[in-house]
Amino acid sequence: MLLIACPHCGPRNSDEFSFSGEIVPRPGPDPSPEEWRRYLYEKANARGWVTERWFHVAGCRRFLDVERHTGTNEVRAVRDVAG
């Protein structure tokens, strides 16, 4: 089980959240096909501390940035995307 400390709802089981993966910066307003391909497909898929986006779908329904260690599933920081 993975506990995520939601800044609005407190520590909650991860099955209340939906996972949308590592945060990849969006390309600029006029990207080349190559830039789009990189954005769509190339993932760091790192083993270590990663900042990723989660959605508290069965809670406050806010988007959250979660810092999680992908080797141990330890969570060290959770922020509301809106700050």
């Binding site: 089980m1 089981n13 993966g21 760091a44």
Partner: protein
Amino acid sequence: MAGRGSRYSAWALVRRGLGGKPWPKVWRHHELRPSYDVVIVGGGVHGLATAYYLARKHGVRNVAVVEQAYIGGGGSGRNTAIVRSNYLTPEGSAFYDRSVKLYERLAADLNFNVMFEQRGHMTLAHNDASLRTMRWRAEVNKLGGIDSEVIGPDEIKRLVPLMDVGDRPRYPILGALWHPPGGIVRHDAVVWGYARAADRLGVHIHQGTTVTGIEVRSGRVAGVDTSRGRIATGAVVNCTAGWSSLVSELAGVKLPIVTRPLQAAVTEPVQPFLDPVVVSGTLHVYVSQTARGELVFGASVDPFASYSTRGSLDFAEGLAGHVLELMPSLAGMRLLRQWAGLCDMTPDFGPIIGPTPVDGFYLDVGWGTYGFKAGPVAGEQTAALVATGRVPELIAPFGLDRFARGDLTAEKGAAAVGH
């Protein structure tokens, strides 16, 4: 080299038993050579099969298989050992059909009993939409010469008497895709069989050896740094699962892969009652009974990316509920243990197998939840690719460049993933 006493037979067993002499080492420990023609990263079914076919079919014997832990300890020893070829796409089913054919004669080829039991593979349909997909898959399979048919609840009940095919409100069993050549294999035996055969042909298997760097000089592979020293080589094959992004990154190649754990569990052993492999895509569960009598359960990949191989209570609870939905009379059975393996998921649920922009760096990765059943064919085709430098037709649809071309494979016949 295959010498006296290296073949397994009833006669050899009697002789060894009476003589009391120990069996020779099945694979040996070697010092690291300063150079190899081919270095394979990852000592699982894929890496060992690639090494075996390189040596056996192409005469490339100066090959090292470099494994950071012990052989068969990753995905090869953690899967649920199911083999089938009833995929949805023509390229997918042709590929896995070749794998089933290789598995059928693997025990004879390797002189190692891999215990391939073709007890049939049954994929249940709980609604009209999945029944329609089953019909589609059956027709694609039949055109490719694969034994695959849609069957009704009466036939399902005949094949699996414990199945609840009653009139249930939530997940009624409307029919199934029935695939007689499918079945289960002893997955450790496949690893050991390939390792033994490759060792006999002169391949060096280096366990406990971590790859720490891949040297690329002017767009070409020049060598591999390991925890036991440097190896000069012109060809490196990434045959890892779970670690494929990280190993490719060492050569500067980025992959469209996200690693997710897939959990499985096994029950206490009971008398044989379940012959075929039973799968429900809707309920995300697959069940088979091993030769030892244990029930092996698998589910879908975990809902978030991770390199952790810990099991979770969420999984065990969900799994138990889904199994009882199909076979309520199993309610008294106890789980013995659960575990997880790492699945490298690609955006189109197809593998990535072929060359890369770095000359001499090859991929056999992205095997998601379907790597074990593809082991022999992937090894055979990767060996051909490395030995000849040409991409064999069977793996042409699975190249890394398909993502740049927008030519994805869309394999909806893949198991254990939501579509």
